[in-house]
Amino acid sequence: MSEGFWGSEWFRLILGLVIVLAFSQLNALFLVWLERKVSGHIQLRPGPMEVGPHGLLQTIADGVKLIGKELILPLQADKKLFFLAPVLVFTPVLVGFLVLPFGPGLVIHDMNVGVLLVFAFSTITVLAILTGGWASNNKYALLGAVRSVAQNVAYEIPLLLAVMSVVLMVHSLSFSQIVESQKTVWFIFIQPLAALIYLIAATAETNRAPFDIPEAESELVAGFHTEYSGMGFGLFFLAEYTNMFIVCAVATSLFLGGWNGLFGISLGIPGVCWFLLKTYFLIFVIMWVRWTFPRVRFDQLMNFSWKVMIPLSLANLVITAIVVKII
């Protein structure tokens, strides 16, 4: 730590941010391709095949096309907020990467309140969606934004309650310590209900089907980003896929043992590989769900959160607290 700039925490932060920026783009490119492949195979068709081997370069071609497109500003839109929204939607995503533990010691900045940091910043996404939807001055966009706010408020509560039951067991808000304490048994075996609630709420938080009512294409054209073209739309898209990676990585650290192997058996596979393997498996599950289940109706969505998920997660938290105190 004492060899000047190159060994300092600042250098670590800057290097980390550069890697994160590069990784989030590559990850989003890969996930978009994966999404199209998964949907293709689920619908008994091959998906993109033309560009590159098995269509692997298709998203790069699409990305280049998006960059080349004109940014269209609607006539009646609020110019400042319209361009602020795509920038705002990407900041919480970058902050989330700061504390994710990819492997033992392989974290950009290990904080003792890492779990809080991810969820505190994830709320900014809602504000960004609201800003974008409202600034577009378009009925569909505004409706999508309003739905997004209602949905995120409803699903943030069970999400945090499910996370809190894990935090109660570890007595720590640091990701590294939470992963460390799952060395032998993953928390999904001790807290299956919390894990399930987390996964459902996280799907809703990232606006993925079956909870994609903020952008329901058959009702709202494209929801909150209806008016965005070119990279304005591209940034929303990028943020959605990077967000998906973050919620799955958080789920991996909280419930699937992070960099630890199953029951302490690592099979000689390095921790980073375990971590990425589990994260991408969860992402695959979320995609699988999207192409399998139909979209829920708005009242079903609200009722399910307020009447089922919140009471269940509260009960889970209370029982966890009692058990932790007794044992």
């Binding site: 907020l81 003792n112 505190a120 709320t123 809602v126």
Partner: protein, 177 residues
């Protein structure tokens, strides 16, 4: 390691945070567009989270962000959704409301400045970031021992708010049906 550069960065960050907070607060008050007001409020509250960070408590800063930006601002957005459509011309502010608002904020301002002047400020020894005094554990301890009464009074206020919300919603529903 030379710390003067770091100190300069910290000072600059502090004043940028001050500027952001004041800018956010004025956006929250002056424009007549209610969505600008909410976003300004969010900016001001984020700036305050920055102050907590500067004071050495990451935990309080994160809670500030989670509760005030994440919950309070979103709750205000809910209130906006239930209010008049945004494209309708807003009526001029009634003078009585403006004066009452000014009165309330002047009283609060005098109180806050009075407390700030009366307190004997001590310069924190050592680096600000090493203040582990405000960790999660010590805040929890203080809340349930020294500030127990304040804690309970706040929960009472929340209880009153919940009962009020239930009664208001119940009455209006009965009236409309």
């Amino acid at each position: 390691m030379d710390t003067s550069g770091l100190n300069f960065i910290l000072q600059a960050a502090f004043w940028v945070t001050v500027a952001l907070t004041i800018a956010g607060a004025s956006i929250a008050v002056f424009p007549r567009n209610i969505l600008y007001n909410v976003l300004g409020l969010a900016l001001a509250l984020t700036g305050i989270a920055g102050f907590y960070l500067y004071l050495g408590s990451l935990f309080v800063a994160m809670m500030q962000l989670l509760i005030y930006v994440g919950a309070i601002c979103i709750a205000i957005v809910f209130a906006i959704m239930l209010s008049r459509p945004l494209h309708i011309e807003v009526p001029p502010r009634p003078a009585r409301k403006v004066w009452m608002g000014i009165l309330a904020s002047v009283v609060f301002f005098i109180g806050a400045v009075g407390v700030a002047l009366k307190t004997k400020w001590q310069v924190a020894a050592g680096h600000v970031y090493e203040a582990s005094k405000w960790s999660v554990q010590s805040i929890g301890d203080a809340l349930l021992t020294r500030y127990e009464l304040v804690f309970e009074v706040i929960s009472l206020v929340l209880l009153v708010a919940i009962i009020g919300a239930v009664i208001t919603a119940g009455f209006s529903r009965r009236l409309s049906s």
